[in-house]
């Protein structure tokens, strides 16, 4: 019903635009509900603030609920725009969602700052996360068992990490913690822990490892030399409405992308 109404509304708006020829300059107003990936949320909140300063007639609500919830929400109409930090998979590509790549992000393995290990190969990472390597001494570290911390089911980071690092094999975690902040706190408090987070969220409490000798920084993500990369997506059900389009255009436009670059993310335009 809601969708039918929205459709009627859009058609009416389009007709009025076509009819009058001057309506394009009319102010768009309304509320835009955006929800999804906890990673993309952090960035989108800042984008939305700036956007609302510029367009005071548009209200943007942002919800941090996880990538899968964002994808499902966009599909079911809970969110006007869904946020995801992984590509669509399984049945999702068939749902008729329109994808907009907002920026590209890496996923850095992190360890405790006192851990002497500085670099892991993709192969070692895979073996650690599927439980074939269980002691740091096997990868040149101290003799201590590895605490493998992964994200909760449904996290975009987990989905991307699994797809890229250990494909079809299930992870063998020691702990499952919630959210980017959760796993970072887990690693910061445990000298033998390893996990993964967006490089943007790496602070002095943890150390990011290089993978195959490549550092997880924006330049390397852009060049494609850093192996664990994933997109930040905005998703709309079908074609975006004028209101949704406005926000997406602004984010993908020079102002939005400039903001992203200042945050250390890799712009796509």
């Amino acid at each position: 019903m809601k969708r039918v109404f929205a459709l009627v509304l859009i058609v009416t708006m389009l007709l009025s635009i076509a009819g009058t020829g001057i309506a394009t300059t009319e102010v768009l107003r309304g509320t835009l509900v955006i929800g999804g990936s906890t990673t993309v949320y952090v960035v989108t909140v800042l984008l939305a603030e700036r956007f609302m300063e510029k367009y005071p007639d548009i209200r943007v609500e942002t919800h941090s609920v996880g990538s899968t919830a964002g994808i499902v929400g966009a599909n079911e109409g809970t969110f006007d725009i869904g946020m995801s930090s992984r590509w669509l998979r399984g049945d999702e590509p068939g749902w008729g969602l329109t994808e907009f790549v907002v920026y590209m992000d890496g996923l850095a393995p992190i360890v405790h700052p006192t851990n002497p290990v500085r670099d892991l190969t993709m192969k070692q990472l895979k073996k650690i996360f599927i439980g074939e390597i269980t002691n740091w001494k096997e990868v040149g570290g101290k003799d201590m068992p590895i605490t493998v911390i992964i994200r909760e089911e449904g996290s975009g980071a987990r989905g991307a990490f699994e797809d890229i690092v250990h494909e079809d094999i299930d992870p063998a975690p020691t702990l499952i913690l919630v959210g980017t902040g959760g796993v970072r706190a887990g690693v910061a408090g445990d000298p033998s822990a390893i996990s993964y987070i967006t490089p943007v969220a790496v602070d002095e409490t943890v150390r990011a490892l290089t993978v195959d000798g490549v550092e997880a920084i924006a330049a390397n993500v852009l060049a494609g030399t850093f192996p664990i990369i994933r997109p930040a997506l905005f998703l709309t059900k079908g074609e975006p409405s004028p209101l949704e389009q406005k926000f997406i255009d602004w984010v993908l436009g020079p102002e939005g992308q400039q903001m992203l670059e200042e945050m250390g993310l890799v712009r796509v335009r």
Binding site: V72, T147, E153, T174
Partner: protein, 284 residues
Amino acid sequence: MNKYREWVIEKSLVAAAMVSLIIIAFIIITIFRTGLPLIAEEGVFHFLFGMEWRPRREIFGIFPMMAGTLLVTILSMLISVPLGILAATFLAEVAPQAIRSILRPVIELLAGIPSVVYGFVGLMALVPFIRIHLGPPGFSMLAGAIVLAIMALPIIITIAEDAINAVPKTYKEASLALGATHWQTIRNVILPAARSGILAGVVLGSGRAIGETMAAIMVLGNIPAIPDSVLDPIRTLTANVALEMAYAAAGPHRQALFATGIVLFGAISILVITANRLRRGQQL
């Protein structure tokens, strides 16, 4: 006119009571309608006693979570029940009025602290303590049991104290008149007489421990496997639902989470019925 007012007031009271009934009915219908088909499809035995939970592969066995919930609840009760009964006895029988008037509000305050605060303190203080002094990874059944025990404590103390206070004064007077000391009276007369009320407190306290979600997720480590020791991480039924809710698109996974809800609902129903019977002083 007055009669009319009476009628309106009476009916609105009935309506208010009906609202909670309707809400419960709605919840029951929702979780059962979504969850039951999955249990039927997987088979009750496979769902309840399956040892593996791998939603991405559509393998749904909740036995590790049932075991986790049961074990952490028992362990937390082992900590909170003796403490709670002793504290209640102290408050009801021994404590001078001045101390009582300080302790009671403190205990009520303990009950009012949001669970996320308990979880956070557990995460920042208890988890590192256990990792360093007892062994890694710190996130563990023990950490959860201690946090849940502290959260259940106010319930146990309050209800047990009420039960002790409800013991007729004549019992105590008779016992003392027969020459029993105060401690003998407490142990042999008052506590046995208050037994069913105290047990009701214990049952409701374990209900709190079973139902607690936020604090549990923060300190338990959330691995869906049977623990080998109290230092291993576990996942509870409530944590299972809360952790994966966001992930579960319409389909078997979401159904499986609702089915987890059915099991929880059953467990809590049994506890509440037990507690009510105990409170009315009936035999089990």
